[in-house]
């Protein structure tokens, strides 16, 4: 019964978005018809043989960004869902909004706490915006220009995948990261992790995490320690994240509640678990993120935390297991990174194995190897690489089981 209700709700939600889309198309048509007419007028120039045939994919990208694309499946029944890539990506961007807005505010909040100054909400938000916005702009400009260049050279369409990646990259970086580093890391991840494998949908590892891993190994002094997590930080104040404190053997952590609502130093988007869970809820309801993956990651992390609690040899191991879920990028990674449908396994059993192993590895790396404070990034990248193998094993096992069953049937 509950299931039915749930799917009904999901359906109505989808109907709402789709209907509103169609409606707006009808209503607003008159107002934007000038733009539509203009686009239609210049369209032939970009078709084959036209003046700007070389820029066809750029034109197409802008057209489908502005309007519902006119290229739909004409025959056959390939449609699985009314949600296409454009809408999927927009949903993810919407789901990221709470965490992003909170992150912007938190950058300001942490800054004024470090200065021991009182400031109004808008002043904090404004300061955060001034710190965050350039990073986001750099990430989008660099990434999109590389995407467009590759699309032109290879004559394929520019697709919307980068809209999400470009927002994820700033959200998992420290607020004080130099902009040129963002540019280098974005270029590296788009070229090496994405375009080298054939572009959107073909990548093996998550491009946003690749950018973070690149920075983490290339410029460790700007990515870890206690001087990078608070923008404009005075020297006397230590701005260590909870993970950073544990790395130095300091177990005097902020309370679980503070870490849950997010008033702690950290990467721009990862601090507030409430905002992340809100976004996650939207993704799960819309059927974009797999609840199976998210829950198994939590289960893996909790399980490993409990095992360490049982051993309890160091102060780090004695840490309550639920702290692991609240520290660092665990929650953010579980909901926005690991669920990326391109790099996660496709089979249901595979998703569970993948999630469990991510949770286990993330906590294992954190506790056992203090040189890598953030185990979540490495755990997800590692399991990204293994996910095709997991799928393969699950499918092969299924085939074998069915074969045996078929052999045992006596006719």
């Amino acid at each position: 019964m509950k299931d039915k209700q749930n799917s009904k709700f999901r359906q109505s939600l989808r109907d709402f978005f789709i209907a509103s889309d169609a409606e707006s198309n009808g209503k607003v048509k008159d107002r934007v018809s000038g733009l539509r007419n203009y686009v239609n007028k210049i369209k032939p120039n970009f078709n084959e043989g036209g003046k700007f045939a070389k820029l066809q994919s750029t034109f197409e990208a802008f057209e489908s960004f502005l309007f519902v694309p006119d290229k739909t499946t004409q025959k056959g029944c390939q449609i699985r869902d009314a949600v296409d890539m454009k809408r999927t990506m927009i949903f993810v961007v919407i789901a990221l909004m709470p965490a992003l807005l909170f992150g912007i505010w938190n950058v300001g909040y942490q800054h004024f706490i470090a200065l021991a100054e009182q400031a109004s909400f808008w002043r904090m938000f404004g300061f955060g915006l001034a710190k965050t916005l350039p990073t986001i702009v750099v990430s989008y400009v660099v990434g999109l220009s590389i995407e467009f260049t590759f699309a032109q050279i290879r004559h394929h369409e520019v697709n919307e995948g980068y809209l999400v990646t470009g927002l994820l990259i700033p959200m998992i970086l420290p607020p004080d990261i130099p902009l040129w580093m963002v540019a280098v890391a974005t270029a590296f991840s788009v070229i090496i992790a994405k375009e080298a494998f054939g572009g959107t949908g073909m990548n093996i590892v998550n491009p946003a995490l690749t950018a973070r891993a690149f920075l983490f190994f290339a410029y460790p002094s700007c990515m870890s320690g206690d001087k990078v997590w608070i923008a404009g930080q005075p020297d006397a104040v230590s701005g260590a994240t909870p993970l950073g404190m544990l790395m130095n053997g300091n177990t005097d952590l902020p309370s679980a509640w503070t870490m849950f609502w997010g008033g702690i130093p950290g990467s721009m988007g990862e601090t507030s678990k409430i905002a992340i869970l809100l976004g996650g809820l939207l993704l799960v309801i819309c059927g974009i993120a797999s609840l199976r993956i998210i829950l198994s990651i939590f289960a893996g992390g909790i399980g490993m935390g409990l095992i360490f609690n049982a051993i309890g040899a160091t102060p780090y191991m004695q840490l309550p297991f639920y702290y692991h879920l609240l520290m660092g990028g665990f929650m953010f990674g579980a909901i926005f990174m690991a669920t990326d449908p391109v790099t996660a396994p496709q089979t249901n059993k595979g998703k569970v194995i993948y999630g469990l192993l991510i949770g286990i590895f993330a906590v294992l790396i954190r506790v056992i190897n203090p040189a890598y404070a953030e185990g979540m990034m490495l755990a997800i990248l590692l399991m990204n690489v293994f996910s095709p193998l997991i799928d393969h094993c699950v499918i092969a096992r299924n085939i074998n089981m069915r074969k045996k069953r078929a052999q045992n049937v006596k006719i």
Partner: protein, 208 residues
């Protein structure tokens, strides 16, 4: 003369041992963090491939084919020990940096590969040239990789500071990932990518 050109030039381009045959990758990871060891390593491998090719080609009619690998190994091992001793005597610091990797030239796939594929069936002079050519092709890639790794990873070339101090004051940092071995693989990968894009005939036809 045409033959000469072909034997020396081709391994630099479309028959490159590293980017096309994908041999000798291991040492490419190990010794390319700095330019100087890479150059010394390239020359050492070139000497070993050239002379082992020459010697095996001279002996090729007398080697029973059943034990040819053992004979080849004896020749290569002898040459590698010679090179190792030579490096120890004349460039001791580089020899220390290269440590075991000089000894491991014995296992370098390029050496054995050229012996099997070329020297066993060609005349001595041509085999010698083939060895030089493949050694050069190997050195070329090693030097390109080491150039980028040392420049971006340490800001130096051959040990001299290249990136001016003012850059660092503006906030430039050396890229620590360049020093780590994975970056050597990524650079080799990028070189292969560029080469295959420029010469589409090198791409395997994977349309089924």
């Amino acid at each position: 003369m045409g033959n000469f050109k072909k034997l020396i030039i081709e391994p630099l381009r479309k028959a490159n041992p590293i980017t096309i045959l994908v041999l000798g990758i291991c040492s490419c990871l190990a010794v390319t963090a700095k330019l100087k060891p890479a150059i010394v390593m390239g020359i050492s491998v070139m000497v070993v491939t050239a002379f082992s090719n020459l010697i095996i080609s001279l002996l090729r009619k007398g080697i029973p084919s059943r034990i040819r690998i053992i004979v080849q190994l004896v020749v290569v091992a002898a040459l590698v020990i010679l090179v190792d001793q030579f490096l120890k005597a004349f460039v001791y610091d580089v020899s220390k940096q290269l440590s075991v990797f000089v000894g491991l030239i014995i296992t370098n796939c390029i050496v054995m590969g050229r012996l099997e594929a070329y020297a066993m069936s060609h005349k001595p002079w041509e085999s010698f040239l083939d060895g030089i050519g493949n050694g050069l092709g190997y050195s070329l890639i090693l030097i390109i990789v080491a150039f980028f790794r040392e420049l971006l990873g340490s800001g130096t070339l051959l040990g001299y500071q290249v990136i001016p101090q003012s850059f660092y004051e503006l906030g430039y940092r050396n890229n620590g990932l360049m020093i780590l071995p994975p970056m050597a693989l990524i650079i080799v990968g990028v070189i292969i990518w560029i080469q295959r894009t420029r010469h589409p005939e090198l791409q395997e036809n994977n349309k089924k």
